[in-house]
């Protein structure tokens, strides 16, 4: 029979399927409207807003010290980095020079946060492609970081450790020792990640050539973070616009050019190694000094516009403050990496299978509160 005749006799119909808001692969309350033909995806339309809290509106009501605490709840896996973004923006606006000690501690905790976020991502990535064991391996290592955070700032996830002008309190006396312990431990465990997942033939088959994003598209869709770096677009804010103590350390920007899910996976694995190296460079040289500089109880930013970008575990977070000189911002905008990264989901998953969609979504590494804000 001719192909045309076959197609005529066996008509296939597209149908809709609702993935989420409660679904194991959407990592939170994301809803995807899928149009599929059998197993093949024809269209992916994200439906957002299930955890929209209008943080930007709340910011217009709150003082700058209070705003810091709202940012924890955006990308909760990079909470410390989010805090830092706001603090840096405020400090730059006030032209406040924070002590070296603060800068170094901030950077160390940033990188620990990044490792913690990436280990969680690695575990969930494995789970999304069906290897459940990786989840527990990731959590084992993440646990040690959370313990360090708990000891130093009292919270394990939403840390609130930064304030405009420095840190909430000084580091715990055990901090240096425990970070060193963790680094020694993690360096032996990271190769285990490769053994369990990276080299696995099924894993490679599932991710290589899946969800391919070209460099041009990555830029056009505003991708950032490991998603863009997996496509070869050098966009690491830590390299291009160094902040805190990042100008004192040397590290390589993880770059891969293939643009598929496997490249994004490798970028994150490599980033963990780079973060380890950054911490190693700083942990022995934490300068003595104050852990904060005094600011006014009511911070008033001069009239003007301030933009601060930082590199969270998911990509470039921008904080855009428009101040009219008052104690609240006139307008506060968070440029979240998640929203831009999610917007390319339809572009790179169409034509793949449902399994590809799940693997691709895992490597885009979305955190839904970060998208919804």
């Amino acid at each position: 029979m001719e192909t045309a005749t076959i197609n005529n006799n066996f008509k296939s119909e597209e149908y809709f399927i609702n993935m989420g808001p409660q679904h194991p692969a959407t990592h939170g309350v994301l809803r995807l409207l899928l149009t599929i033909d059998g197993e093949i995806i024809k269209k992916v339309e994200p439906d957002l807003g299930y955890i929209h809290r209008s943080i930007e509106k709340m910011c217009e009501r709150d003082s700058y010290q209070q705003i810091v605490h709202l940012t924890d709840r955006m990308d909760y896996l990079s909470s410390h980095i989010n805090n830092e973004a706001v603090c840096l923006a405020v400090e730059n606006a006030l032209e406040l020079e924070v002590p070296e000690r603060v800068k170094v501690i901030r950077t160390i905790i940033d990188e620990l946060t990044r490792i913690s976020s990436h280990t969680l991502w690695w575990g969930v990535m494995g789970m999304d492609v069906g290897a459940l064991t990786s989840y527990f391996y990731g959590f084992r290592d993440r646990e040690m970081i959370n313990d360090i955070f708990e000891e130093t700032c009292g919270a394990r996830l939403t840390m609130n450790y930064n304030i405009p002008g420095g840190l909430m309190q000084d580091i715990h006396p055990n901090f240096v020792k425990r970070v060193k312990e963790f680094i020694a431990h993690f360096k032996t465990k990271l190769p285990e990640y490769d053994k369990l997942l990276t080299g696995n033939i099924i894993f490679q088959k599932r991710t290589k050539g899946v969800g391919v994003l070209s460099k041009e598209d990555a830029i056009a869709y505003g991708a950032s973070g490991p998603v863009a770096r997996g496509s070869g677009y050098s966009c690491d804010v830590r390299k291009h616009h160094p902040y805190s103590a990042l100008d004192k350390v040397s590290f390589n920007e993880a770059l891969h050019t293939e643009g598929d899910s496997y490249a994004r996976y490798l970028v994150r694995i490599q980033e963990m190694w780079e973060s380890v190296s950054i911490i190693e460079q700083l942990i022995d040289n934490i300068p003595e000094g104050d852990f904060k500089v005094a600011t006014n109880a009511v911070i008033k930013l001069p009239k003007g516009e301030y933009y601060q970008k930082v590199e969270t575990a998911r990509g470039e977070l921008g904080v855009y403050i428009i101040s009219t000189g008052g104690k609240n911002p006139h307008r506060m905008k968070f440029r979240s990496p998640g929203l831009s990264n999610l917007s390319l989901l339809n572009h790179i998953t169409v034509g793949g299978k449902i399994g590809d969609l799940v693997a691709t979504m895992a490597t885009i590494d979305i955190v839904v509160p970060d998208i919804d804000r």
Binding site: I17, V129, G130, A131, T133, Y137, K205, I354, G355
Partner: protein, 354 residues
């Protein structure tokens, strides 16, 4: 009929003294059915516990450890919970098929258990087409999955069921062909006969190279047929939620769940019987104590079960098209080639026998 009921020898005369000969047969069959049902319900529960313990061991966890000694009664508690749960269902489900589906699965897996020789004298039903019967029965289960997925009126369940249909039909071939390779060695489909042949060496040794290939193919396709990871396309919780049994709850869900674990045992038991000498002890070390056959059988079967659990807790899941590629482009041609190889070896008498 009576001759095939080997384990009844002793009970038979006792029952015969109580009632007329015409009723005895039926009574005995009922008794055996009851015993088997009980034993395998417990076996299913034990397998669930074992899986959870093994998984915990792989995943740096402790696993169930609260109910009973080392959590021994955890799965019994779970079963009681499932029994007492409300049976929910979708409004627009095809009620008849929806309720029927779990029974297809559980009955087909319990039926398959009837033919295994657990030791020389412990076999309920020794038919001369044993292997054939097993293959035939094990493919009935997929009807339950298809019905369950179709009648639930849920798209995720439907996708899961369709995947299952595709998968089971494909891998059925490989299971059948790899067992057929071994049949060339034994010359019989009867399970007791197959074990008899292995008294001069387990088949995996007798058939050496092609037998090892056949065993590997058998384990891969056997895992696929039980819908377990890395072939758990049917459930694929990160893709389809729970796949074909998304809409089932309570005891109906438990039937699906139990059937999966019993199926795993069946695959392991067939593997034990066909490749590893069934209840035969290694080198005949306990030949003088016949009842130890049960021990050896279970030991070998659980070793294979453990192997399947090992697969599950280390491998990622394949994609549905990769699954079919693996079967049709790799396993099937290798299998066909393997049969020819085995035939040549049997023909030229290259087998290893002690």
């Amino acid at each position: 009929m009576y001759s095939s009921l080997i384990i009844t020898n002793n009970i038979h005369s006792w029952v015969l003294s109580l009632m007329p000969a015409a009723v005895t047969g039926i009574t005995e069959m009922m008794m055996i059915a009851m015993i088997y049902l009980t034993v395998f319900a417990v076996l299913g529960l034990f397998l669930v516990l074992m899986e959870r313990k093994v998984a915990a061991w792989f995943q740096l966890r402790i696993g169930p450890n609260r109910v009973g000694f080392f959590g021994m009664f955890q799965t019994i508690a779970d079963a009681l919970k499932l029994l007492s749960k409300e049976l929910t269902g979708t409004d627009k489900a095809d009620k008849f098929l929806y309720n029927l589906a779990p029974y297809f699965l559980i009955i087909s897996s319990l039926m398959a258990l009837a033919v295994f020789p657990f030791s020389e004298n412990l076999q309920a039903f020794d038919i001369n087409i044993g292997i054939f019967f097993l293959i035939a029965i094990s493919s009935i289960g997929v009807i339950g999955v298809l019905l369950g997925g179709w009648s639930s009126n849920n798209k995720f369940a439907l996708i899961g069921a369709m995947r299952s249909g595709v998968q089971t039909i494909s891998y059925e071939l490989s299971v059948g062909l790899s067992l057929l390779t071994m049949i060339l060695l034994t010359g019989s489909l009867q399970l007791s006969e197959i074990i008899e042949v292995q008294k001069s060496g387990w088949l995996i040794v007798q058939g050496h190279i092609p037998a090892v290939i056949a065993f590997m193919i058998y384990m891969i396709s056997g895992t696929a047929e039980t819908n377990r990871a890395p072939f758990d396309m049917v459930e694929a919780e990160s893709e389809l939620g729970a796949g074909f049994h998304t809409e089932y709850s309570g005891m109906k869900f438990a039937y699906f769940f139990l059937a999966e674990f019993i199926n795993m045992f069946i695959i392991a038991a067939i593997g034990t019987t066909v490749f590893f000498g069934g209840w035969l002890s290694p080198f005949g070390i306990t030949e003088s104590i016949p009842w130890l056959g049960v021990f050896w059988f279970l030991l070998k079967a659980f070793a294979l079960v453990f192997l399947m659990m090992w697969f599950r807790w280390t491998f990622p899941r394949l994609r549905v098209d990769q699954l079919l590629t693996l079967e049709w482009k790799y396993l099937l041609p290798i299998n066909l080639f393997n049969i020819v190889l085995m035939a040549i070896i049997v023909w030229l008498n290259f087998t290893i026998q002690f």
